[in-house]
Symmetry: C2
Subunit: 297 residues, 2 copies
Amino acid sequence: MDELDFIQSLRALATHPAARGLDDDAAVLDLGTETLVLTQDSMVEGVHYLPGQDMADVAWKLVAVNLSDLAAKGALPLGVLYTHMLGAGDERFVAGLRDVLAAYDTPLLGGDTVGSGPFGGVRAARSFSLTAIGRASCTPVPSRSGAKAGESLFITGPVGAAMMGFEAMEAGMEEDGSAYRRPVPLLAEGRSLAPYASAMMDVSDGLLLDTSRLARASGVTIDIAASSVPIAAPETRRQDAMRWGDDYQLLFTGPEAADWPVEVCRIGTVLRAGKTPVLVDGEALAPDEPLGYRHSG
Amino acid sequence: MDELDFIQSLRALATHPAARGLDDDAAVLDLGTETLVLTQDSMVEGVHYLPGQDMADVAWKLVAVNLSDLAAKGALPLGVLYTHMLGAGDERFVAGLRDVLAAYDTPLLGGDTVGSGPFGGVRAARSFSLTAIGRASCTPVPSRSGAKAGESLFITGPVGAAMMGFEAMEAGMEEDGSAYRRPVPLLAEGRSLAPYASAMMDVSDGLLLDTSRLARASGVTIDIAASSVPIAAPETRRQDAMRWGDDYQLLFTGPEAADWPVEVCRIGTVLRAGKTPVLVDGEALAPDEPLGYRHSG
């Protein structure tokens, strides 16, 4: 059973409407007069971070990527629960956790702490799982599936900053890596946009890949105008910046002429569904051309 | 930084009243006209289950232990989110998940799926983390800290069944291990008792250890009458049964003469705080005598 089969078999279980078919950034659950927004994302050593990375940054990112999912649904964080696997750098981990929870005024509500072995002689690769709970600021809560032909695609800011940050870190310039190390969940922007966006998500895995997801969920094709995509990288890296993840900008659709409450960039057009979910400057990508370079949660 | 230091440093962060000082079975969060009950417990290969165990049972237990925490707070499950680490037996895992969610009418709302390596040559010991969300059926939601001197200690049923089940499995009698393999969260009992119990928790780590936790949280001493403890084991194993975990009975306090809405056993007396939080037949345990044999989440 591979990952796709596994996720398909989970989807068959997740029939409650609040689960949104496991196809959105978060679950959306009506409760009394409130609407809860719930998300769970994890980080695994060797996949989402490298051994030797400052664990304060790992803690920051773990919280930030979950809060970014809340941001994409226009939700206000109520708190987090998280499971910690003990190991090296735990003091730094707690320091980073304190920073990020304070920065976004989000309470730690509970969780679990487990050992990391060795178990049967095998040291565990460490993993950390976090659940963020939010309350919707407006209903209906934007999904990925509401984009309609004739609308436009927008983004809240540049892509490529995390890529440049990662490369700076690889080159030993740790201090220039903050866009990668400490991503910023756009909570206020998400709440401002949620009442007006027809579909919204955060860009975690790369602009092209995430646009294709939004397009598939909505049953449309989206044509991105490459030159209009704001990038935080040299022009020579435009194609890379559109494929790199970890920037956590908000990607959303709506009328071209809308008076958006925050500064946004129009980067594409929503079309009726064609052969492929995403076009760049009107052209389909070659079948073997990657939509994204990195998978990061 | 060892586990205790780590948890202490988390407690210093968890100042929101909903976190209950990270000292209860679950977080309790008021939201509009509702009260949410939130818990997160994980299972790690080699700690909470053994490689080779039927993964359907692992999935069952992961959900059941979390629902048991909701039961101890009198909450009705609204759903679960969980993070899965891919690996052997995933089809069985999904089958067990389907069984347990159906048995307790609990929707799967979301989660995350990650690989298990090898990363840098190290296979990850697999870990699974689950968050259960419930709604309180009564307020105030019972805590561990409400027991008062003069009250009695009660339990919903026998301890030792999981111990006997585990030993049957070790002896190759898999079918006799169901009490260990597939614990039952006492959701209906918890909701019936919650309005009347002064303090309540589930017995996950052993009767003596969990009683000591309830006593410490309440600032009392509790004297257990050993012979009154119902056990699902031979009389010769009474001391073991009182120290083994995994039975998930509900342990609670209240007036001796209360007319409890479900069948319960009175097993002890709440006293003013003495030198040790728990006595057995009026005697403190020897300092080196273990309160519990197994730690299991």
